[in-house]
């Protein structure tokens, strides 16, 4: 019962003004992100099981569709598909964040975060950041698969860095989107239902597996409003040697960053509803 601890010390941390607010904010974001990353480190099996899906798409879907002429502007379909599948794996890994949030709420873990003084936006950004790390580890696996399949992957450092940035932002975007859905539906069962209903259109109403030019007008319009389209466009430009952009990389980044910022702002407002 003896203690080597100093006597009552309320003062130091009760005045966060002495901590530079920005440094404090970053610490809180990092607290959340690091916790997620440590979980991945303790049990990396999730990363491997998640690698199966892109493998199946590339090996089965890709091989069959490659026989269909005219789908990829005369280029190799597998080359066209690989960045789309990379974007898909980012999307699917990120969509899991909503259900994880509901899970954390059910376990009571979320209550602990919510009673802390961390700004709600810091909690959201922490999750978004860890989603970026998950997405990047997915990317490593998809790159490996792509190389094995003889896809002409670019390893120029600038391209790799650009891809990493797209993956990080895309992961943050879709995980935050998923979090918002969780705050609306609130239960696991409802999320499971709606999660499927949302992921499929996001994936198929995009340029991930076929060019937008092949779509009817109304679907074209939807795809142009779909952030995944800009994620794929960016990845298609940077992942392959000689990749070209349809919208311009700057525009792709701008769209994704703007949408992410908007979603984070919304999620920060809605997150407390999960524990309410």
């Amino acid at each position: 019962m003896t203690s080597d601890r100093p006597a009552p010390a309320h003062a130091p941390i009760h005045e966060p003004a002495i901590v530079a607010p920005i440094a404090g904010y970053i610490t809180q974001v990092y607290a959340v992100a690091d916790a997620e990353i440590q979980k991945l480190r303790h049990d990396p099996s999730e990363l491997l099981t998640r690698a199966l899906q892109p493998a199946i798409w590339l090996l089965l879907f890709g091989q069959v569709m490659a026989q269909v002429r005219g789908i990829a502007d005369g280029g190799r379909y597998l080359d066209f598909l690989a960045p789309g599948i990379l974007a898909q794996s980012v999307l699917f890994a990120a969509i899991f964040y909503g259900i994880a949030a509901i899970w954390e709420r059910d376990l009571g873990v979320l209550h602990r975060y919510m009673v802390s003084p961390a700004p709600r936006s810091a909690l959201v950004l922490g999750k978004a950041g860890s989603s970026g790390v998950r997405g990047l580890s997915q990317a490593v696996i998809v790159y490996g698969l792509a190389v094995l399949m003889g896809i002409d992957v670019s390893f120029a450092p600038a391209h790799i860095a650009g891809v990493a940035l797209f993956i990080a932002i895309g992961s943050a975007l879709f995980s935050t989107f998923s979090l918002i859905i969780a705050c609306i539906v609130k239960t696991r069962e409802r999320f499971m239902g709606i999660g499927q209903v949302l992921t499929m259109p996001i994936f198929f109403a995009s340029n991930a597996i076929y060019p937008i030019e092949l779509m009817p007008g109304w679907l074209k319009a939807i795809s142009s409003a779909n952030p995944l389209t800009y994620e794929v466009d960016g990845l298609r430009t940077l992942m392959l040697t000689g990749g070209t952009t349809k919208y311009g990389l700057g525009f792709d980044y701008a769209v994704l960053i703007a949408v992410t910022a908007g979603l984070v702002a919304i999620a920060a407002r809605m997150y407390p509803r999960l524990t309410g």
């Binding site: 203690s3 901590v19 009571g108 209550h111 009673v115 802390s116 003084p117 524990t275």
Partner: protein, 276 residues
């Protein structure tokens, strides 16, 4: 009743003050016009049957749940208008187990230390001393999933005090613990108050726990705060040999009139229990 009587006389502004605090869920009045004042350094117990509104009251005081009407000040700050301020001054042990099972004990504490902006230079020392105080040094690097219920509770108490809060809210902290572990928690609670002057608001279904540990007790029934006083006062109001069980039954058993002897009351309580 080892606890000193010095904290009993109401004086000065309460460190927790509620005024007609009310929370409705649809038709249900979970908390109904509760006005309460808890003094600094007090150990205040909330008792009441299932669904009485104990957890709902605590959730409002910890800023997890907005009140429907009424007001509450915690550590001098309004829970609705200054929730971030309130959060820096409080710790919370939720009714649900809230430690993250996928992390180690150390990592759980690290998350809390970072979220509460414990200065980096103090983090390790605080974590080490919290682990030591709760007897978890040897389990620090083990995943919490493998912990017993008692160990998890101890970890949560360690987490909730890592930032040395002025006020600690504990929602049934000893539920599911064996008698030894329960007494250990009582010891920790008392020591916290002695060493740091922490004010503690605790809920329990165990009358002996309330009797032993608390300076004052509030009895909630159907959302209303029916009785407040020291264990001795509450019992004294009932009769010379009354127990806290009798008080509880008197307040919550609807069929009991003030004329009934405490023996009758005890009988009624036994049957009321059988029905619940």
């Amino acid at each position: 009743m080892a606890v000193s009587d010095t904290c009993r006389e109401p004086k000065g502004p309460g460190i927790i003050e509620t005024r007609a605090l009310t929370r409705q869920f649809g038709e249900i009045l979970a908390v109904d016009g509760v006005s309460l004042e808890v003094q600094p350094h007090e150990i205040f117990g909330l008792i009441g049957p299932n669904g009485a509104g104990k957890s709902t009251l605590i959730k409002m005081l910890t800023t997890l749940l907005p009140p429907s009407s009424g007001a509450a000040r915690v550590a001098g700050y309004d829970v609705e208008r200054q929730p971030a301020k309130v959060r820096t001054h409080i710790g919370y042990v939720p009714q649900l187990l809230s430690a993250d099972g996928a992390l180690t004990a150390y990592e759980n504490l690290l998350v809390s230390a970072r979220l509460y902006l414990v200065p980096r230079s103090e983090r390790e020392a605080r974590i080490a001393s919290a682990l030591k105080l709760m007897g978890l040094e040897d389990a620090a690097s083990r995943l919490v999933d493998g912990f017993s219920g008692g160990m998890i509770r101890r970890l949560e108490i360690a987490q909730s005090m890592i930032h040395e809060p002025e006020i600690l809210f504990m929602d049934e902290p000893t539920v599911g613990l064996d008698p030894v572990a329960r007494h250990a928690v009582w010891g920790h609670v008392r020591r916290l108050r002695e060493r740091l002057g922490t004010t503690i608001l605790i809920t329990t279904h165990l009358m002996d726990e309330a009797d032993e540990l608390c300076d004052r007790i509030g009895v909630l029934h159907a959302g209303r705060l029916e009785e407040v006083g020291s264990p001795a006062e509450l019992k004294g109001r009932m009769g010379p040999d009354a127990t806290l069980e009798d008080v509880f039954a008197h307040v919550t058993g609807t069929e009991i009139t003030s004329g009934g002897s405490y023996r009758d009351v005890r009988q009624t309580r036994a049957s009321a229990r059988a029905h619940s």
